[in-house]
């Protein structure tokens, strides 16, 4: 295959088609809409199911229905729409069936704006819907990685009978980059042994998230938790850059990680021994890597496009083994490499402290920025 110029949202859509996605249900919302538009032409062309739903609420419940047939199905949306989908997300998780969801994040809370942000981290990584469940969360930082992780999302969702979320910010959805598309996978013609397909020559099946008898609900919760342990054991993905001899580390995912990489390279050129960790699976989180890294370095800088949602995870995992600093831009602003470089310089210069909260120090510095 050759590399072609693809817009992020379109690339994800085509990758899903090639991964054997048989049904797509969605609702227009910026900065995700091109994905829906692409599917509206592409899916019927291939004789596959496409419905523009009346709301994100309906879209996720269409996904729920289609997922019950054991076929590959997806939806996509952006932050406010994803909030509306949380009902269906919880039900799908509780029914233990696979589905893929793409969240192209924008500024918030509320209507916010349509510029890139990473402020759905807590909602997607730590819950959002009711009840005990975990989603597999993949965070790409380029169009190519969005393509690759979309294909992976279908495989992981199926393998673990789980929702797999591809979590990216609006800039990756909107930008154009060269990318290579995966090969076409055939649509499935056989269905898993739990799927509802009509009770022909077998006992009837029903799929539900209801366990009215508390011991049965507890058993279901434990089953999901044990399956999640398997995900934690097998599916953690991340990338490190220049970490071998690093005395300082930057941690950022998606676009923040990508911007930070430019800053890390510039800092290296200045002789600062700094490296980067870019988590790719945000859930399960690369906890062991962060734990080891905290023992290796003299200071950590967390860079995000939210008010420090992943920061809390890093602080919890680092357990004070290394001082942590924080830098973020909010409300739909992407941090500039120079801003991150300044923060790396500050980190290397010190003095660093384990006292106080890095968010408070960053907020105090933001006072001079704005």
């Amino acid at each position: 295959m050759t590399r072609e110029l693809w817009k992020g949202n379109n690339a994800i859509a085509e990758a899903a088609v090639r991964a054997g996605c048989a049904a797509y249900f969605g609702y227009p919302i910026t900065p995700q809409t091109e994905l829906l538009e692409y599917m509206s032409a592409r899916m019927p062309q291939l004789g596959r199911a496409f419905v523009q739903a009346e709301s994100e609420l309906a879209a996720i419940n269409m996904v729920y229905g289609a997922a019950c047939t054991g076929t590959r199905v997806m939806s996509s949306s952006s932050s406010p729409g994803v909030s509306l989908m949380m009902e269906g997300v919880s039900y799908i998780a509780g029914t233990e069936i696979p589905a893929v969801l793409v969240d192209v994040m924008r500024g918030g809370p509320g209507l916010g704006n349509i510029a890139p942000a990473q402020s759905d981290y807590n909602q997607i990584v730590h819950g959002g819907g009711h009840g005990d469940y975990n989603l597999i969360v993949l965070a790409p930082s380029s169009v190519q990685e969005s393509v690759d992780l979309t294909v992976l999302a279908f495989d992981l969702a199926e393998k673990y009978r789980s929702i797999c979320v591809v979590l990216l910010d609006g800039s990756i959805g909107q930008m154009m980059e060269p990318a290579e598309m995966p090969p076409f996978q055939p649509l499935r013609t056989e269905y898993p042994d739990w799927a509802v397909t009509g009770a022909k020559d077998r006992e009837r099946r029903f799929l539900s998230s209801i366990y009215l008898d508390p011991p049965q609900e507890e058993a279901a919760n434990l089953r999901m938790l044990r399956r999640w342990q398997e995900v934690q054991a097998n599916e953690i993905r991340y990338k490190t850059y220049y970490m071998e001899d690093a005395k300082f580390a930057v941690i950022g995912f998606g676009s923040s990680g990508r911007v930070a990489l430019t800053a890390v390279r510039a800092a290296r050129a200045e002789g600062i021994p700094v490296g980067l960790l870019r988590p790719i699976t945000l859930n399960p989180f690369p906890e062991k890597v962060v734990e080891d890294l905290a023992k290796q370095v003299e200071g950590i800088l967390v860079v995000e496009m939210n008010s420090g949602q992943m920061l809390e995870d890093i602080r919890r995992i680092a357990k004070g083994a290394a001082p942590v600093e924080f830098f973020a831009r909010l409300g739909g602003i992407v941090p500039l490499p120079d801003e991150v470089l300044d923060e790396i310089r500050r980190l290397a210069k010190g003095p660093l402290t384990l006292e106080g909260h890095p968010r408070d120090r960053w907020l105090a510095r933001m006072g001079t920025l704005n």
Binding site: S55, N61, F206, L207
Partner: protein, 257 residues
């Protein structure tokens, strides 16, 4: 002494499981379940039918129906049915929903499923209250009707008017067959069964959205004997919710003929 040979004139349909009912004595859910199961048996659809249960008293519909079933969040059965049907256009997909589910929290989903002409069959049980949660006011509760959340009777000044779902959905071009029947006496039960059959015929012919509204009783929450509740349905519900055919696509008329 003569021995009389026993002849089965009435049996449990294959499409019903041998499960004890959880419905209250006198409730018409059992009648509706039975009619749907009889029709599915008679039409030979059991092995290709997928049901979508809703939230309300009929949340356990799948316990009684002996075919594949899924269970939707409150109000979302038409969306979930859309997902199933779009993947499996050749299967028969039905939803079974109450009035709180369909006409309140699920109003957007039912309207748009009908507007899209979604090729599914909806069975809509209207008993003028929220049965499962203990008899609160529903969108279908009659003016003046006492419920646990309209203790002085539904005051239309502050609590608005009932929604006539069949009339509303009949205005949509995507709806092919929308009728209201009642389960209060044998004659009407037979008419209801015919309508259920027509709804499935509509779906099998790919004619689009079909819905049979079934006026139903809730003796427990209405605080009436089963017999009095049937009478109340006839005297109070039917005048507000007239029985009849609200939308019959010309192509459907041919099936009926």
């Amino acid at each position: 002494m003569d021995t009389q040979e026993e002849v089965i004139v009435y049996a449990r349909p294959d499409s019903l499981t041998k499960t004890n009912t959880h419905y209250c004595p006198g409730c018409t859910h059992g009648v509706a379940h039975h009619l749907i199961a009889e029709v599915i048996d008679e039409m030979g659809l059991r092995e290709r039918t997928i049901g979508v249960a809703s939230v309300g008293c009929s949340v356990f519909a799948y316990n009684y129906m002996n075919f594949d079933f899924v269970q939707a969040p409150h109000g979302r059965a038409p969306a979930m049915a859309t997902g199933v049907k779009r993947v499996f256009p050749d299967k028969v997909v039905l939803t079974y929903q109450g009035d709180g589910d369909l006409a309140s929290i699920g109003m957007a989903e039912i309207v748009h499923a009908a507007a899209r002409g979604e090729n599914i069959s909806v069975f809509f049980l209207n008993n003028a209250n929220y049965g499962m949660t203990g008899g609160q006011m529903a969108p279908t509760t009659l003016p003046g009707q006492k419920t646990t959340s309209s203790p002085n009777g539904r005051d239309v000044e502050t609590q608005g008017y009932p929604i006539r779902a069949s009339e509303l959905l009949a205005t949509l071009d995507g709806a092919s067959y929308v009728v209201r029947r009642s389960l209060h006496d044998p004659k009407n039960i037979r008419l209801a069964k015919k309508a259920i059959r027509t709804a499935f015929e509509v779906q099998l012919r790919g004619l689009g959205f079909s819905m049979v509204e079934l006026l139903s009783t809730c003796p427990t929450n209405w605080e009436m004997t089963p017999q009095n509740s049937l009478k109340w349905l006839e005297e109070h519900m039917i005048p507000y919710y007239p029985l009849g055919d609200y939308k019959v696509n010309p192509a459907v008329a041919e099936i009926k003929g």
